[in-house]
Symmetry: C2
Subunit: 435 residues, 2 copies
Amino acid sequence: MAEELRVALAGLGTVGSGVIRLIETNRELIAARAGRPIRILAVSARDRIKDRGVDISGFAWEDDMTAMAAREDVDVVVELVGGSDGPALALARGALKAGKNVVTANKAMIAHHGLELAEAAERAGVALKFEAAVAGGVPVIKGLREGAAANRIERIYGILNGTCNYILSTMEDTGRDFADILREAQELGFAETDPTFDIEGVDAAHKLSILAAIAFGTKVDFDAVDTTGISRVRAADIEQAAVLGYVIRLIGMADTVHGPDGICRLFQRVQPCLVHRDHPLASVDGPTNAVVAEGNFSGRLLFQGAGAGDGPTASSVVADLIDIARGDIGKPFSIPAASLEACAPADPGGRTSRAYLRFTVTDRPGVLAEIAAAMRDAGVSIESLIQKGRPEEGGEVLVAMVTHEGPESAVRAALGLLEGSDSLTASPLVMHLIS
Amino acid sequence: MAEELRVALAGLGTVGSGVIRLIETNRELIAARAGRPIRILAVSARDRIKDRGVDISGFAWEDDMTAMAAREDVDVVVELVGGSDGPALALARGALKAGKNVVTANKAMIAHHGLELAEAAERAGVALKFEAAVAGGVPVIKGLREGAAANRIERIYGILNGTCNYILSTMEDTGRDFADILREAQELGFAETDPTFDIEGVDAAHKLSILAAIAFGTKVDFDAVDTTGISRVRAADIEQAAVLGYVIRLIGMADTVHGPDGICRLFQRVQPCLVHRDHPLASVDGPTNAVVAEGNFSGRLLFQGAGAGDGPTASSVVADLIDIARGDIGKPFSIPAASLEACAPADPGGRTSRAYLRFTVTDRPGVLAEIAAAMRDAGVSIESLIQKGRPEEGGEVLVAMVTHEGPESAVRAALGLLEGSDSLTASPLVMHLIS
């Protein structure tokens, strides 16, 4: 058997411990499949003596991660420190500069610095792999980079955040409200103590920007993702969606639009959407992730599985190590980093969609007429209207409607007409429909 | 840009024409992703002048496929001739012997001769790739070989035949009977004129045997797949399943069993099953394929998409070509062919399952008591019993039941006790439950 692949592991949180446990548990089959043994040689973390449930006494301990990355005897550095900048980024930069392959689960770092790191990896002729950064244990980066490589990808979309999906599908199952389920999810460990990144869609946006770069050959552009979280979704919205035959899911979606000027623009949006009950994403419950890629020859491909957790994430980290052991270095974003296009953000106003609009209004006569007039004046055609009779907390009433398919700019204009109206007690919630 | 990858294409049916069209349509992005152009150099088929809707005048024509495979200027031979033996096998053998990479969509050939061909490929140091042989456009071979490579696979199962899935899901939607939908599927081109391989489960068994070899590191053993088709499933079964909260799908399933002797045995079965409505496979409708792989770290992974058709199949063929262009040769079955274990078939009698049993009986008193007694005597515990009141055609009555979880050997024994009973008008139909 060929020489072993020697790994330095930085970060010993749940994923780091999971990687150690996986490599230990599946040692023989990994060696058989990789063509050579994969061995962790050195580890580094903030706290040396913390009990992690795994034995790290067999590995060299390094206090200084950057020094570890530069060790002569290391082939691959696994970065599981986290954070878009700081020590994680310093480590990745240092490792690539030292000519080491890098494997990371760090979506924030790749979303913000993926291009720079890919260029460094290509210069050094080493791998930069991040399967674990998107959709946990689901090999969707590989599915896009390689499995669907023959296709022009027309659209990519999916459920990219397990916490949000857990909250939304539990709201659906129980009829309970957002804050209530969030609290429970935190107690169960499905949501962070500070859940902002998850529930406001930032985590999903990180992942979407990475997928979009691979799918469309564009530079990662996290800042351009139009992001709305799920914190404003109410039990009443889920109830209304159900009546219409839909469920609500937080969907990240990206595609490219060729304008009349012939220039390609990139559309990226994270938003709670109404997904039709017959769509494969509608049956994705709990902390599961699922990604749909639509290729011009493959048609619709779906990749689904656990979106987080130490086992699934470790599975993706070690799959990347096996690829490297097999000699598959590849290009991080499928095509050379220098060829990735800088693509301006597309104006969503030009898109044609059906939308669910929900207003919270004061309970008095004439409010509905005011909303309907704004829709008419902006040219928005209403397919169905639901006025909830019974007032919610604080005496406000919910008015929800679904529009016919039409330009998003018209909906935006209608909402503009209603801006500042003292009939509305909060800004309206817009969710697009996916069939 | 590096040298082009030169391809010889044998077989110009719908898939072959699809490959030509794909390589033409997506030429530039394929070259960007593969790192070099992929060019079809020569083609061969039975009939040179047939109109295929693609222009083949730019390719060298070879009457003799085997001579084409041996051309000096060819890097990869794409075999799309079909058939487990005959010209396809001669071509694959010849190409590998001549040191050419081989890409094929031929599930029958890989199921029957995959081991021999993998050994030849490894000897020659070339690729043997067959992504298109399983689940059409869905990159499930790659998902297993690479994406899930870090895992011990505990079970693999899925919907592997689009024709059967189209028939079953249409029976479900319309309440119509098997023969009726089959006829329609044939008219629509979703089923072959001779549909035996599809509806009797042979095609699914081919695919299952290939997946099992990769998942479990065992020699491909198509002959050991316990195969039952869908031709005996009736509208009434689908109706009963629905009442119980299940849908019926043709499922290929494989896992390994360690007996008390410590020896590993391989379980492989293709069978119509009752799939619980909440299971992701239950919402797979029409000619779609979907495969679930359960890894010991990844948990449940699902790969889903179009199971057939020229576009999706071509997508997988060209993905294999891109892999080869990128220098990914790999081992056809993930580990070296010489390391694949010969694994005896597992006795399904040792498995623990819930089963749906359906009897067609004569409409007279005492029949139910006879069946119930056989169940009791064999130790089969019945969870629910459905006697269909209204007689079917020919005056027979359907009696269906679901057993509690128990050994399959007990069900087999109970059916043995009923064998030859003149109360039964046909042999019983057994379908296992998947939750």
